[in-house]
Amino acid sequence: MTAIAERITRKLSEAFAPQQLEVIDESHQHHGHSGWREGGETHFRVDIVSDAFTGKSRLERHRMINAALTQELAERVHALAIAAKAPGEA
């Protein structure tokens, strides 16, 4: 796993104690596109399931995740696709 992906994984684990968490680096799919840069680590997909999202709207869930990753988003991460679910949601 790349350094940024590790950082994202660690921060989300600490913030949400997720039952399920997958952080996928999709930077290679965006090669040459605006925001992409040498070395990748710019485009990520996060699939996360956590009790923390129970009763929260989509917008709230995304804001929670963005807040946990403020530093990464400011420094390097250009795109973050998020699928955030509470346990039991399809």
């Binding site: 965006h30 596109h33 605006s34 925001g35 989509r58 917008l59 995304h62 804001r63 963005n66 403020t70 988003l73 400011a74 250009h78 795109a79 973050l80 696709a81 998020i82 699928a83």
Partner: protein, 111 residues
């Protein structure tokens, strides 16, 4: 309110559906922006596209305005709806179409 905030504010309040995006509705310059354009076009909702690549001030300003770090960003009747993932999920579940109806925005009848 700063100048750029006032400009963004006017944009989202004077237009029913506004998409802050990379590129234009005709020529999206980013896959995520393109997805939202496709969804809105499919539903048949008229919308205003604001190309953030043409305006560095708005590109940064909209992130602060919405407290949202990425582009695209969809506004409906002044309300921030979300980015690409949220728009797509709402479209797939039918919530987006419902939202437009609730807000009194005409959508093309799905065929």
């Amino acid at each position: 309110m700063s100048d750029v905030n006032a400009r963004i504010d006017a944009e989202v309040k004077n237009n029913d559906v506004v998409l802050f995006m990379k590129g234009t509705p005709q020529f999206p310059m980013c896959g995520f922006s393109g997805q939202v354009v496709q969804i809105l076009s499919y539903i048949g909702v008229p919308f205003t596209g604001v190309n953030v690549l043409e305006d560095q001030e708005i590109r940064e300003g909209i992130k602060a305005y919405s407290n949202w770090p990425t582009i695209p960003q969809l506004y409906v009747k002044g309300e921030f709806i979300g980015g690409c993932d949220i728009t797509r999920e709402m479209f797939q579940s039918g919530e987006l179409q419902q939202l437009f109806e609730e807000k009194g925005i005409a959508v093309k009848q799905a065929s």
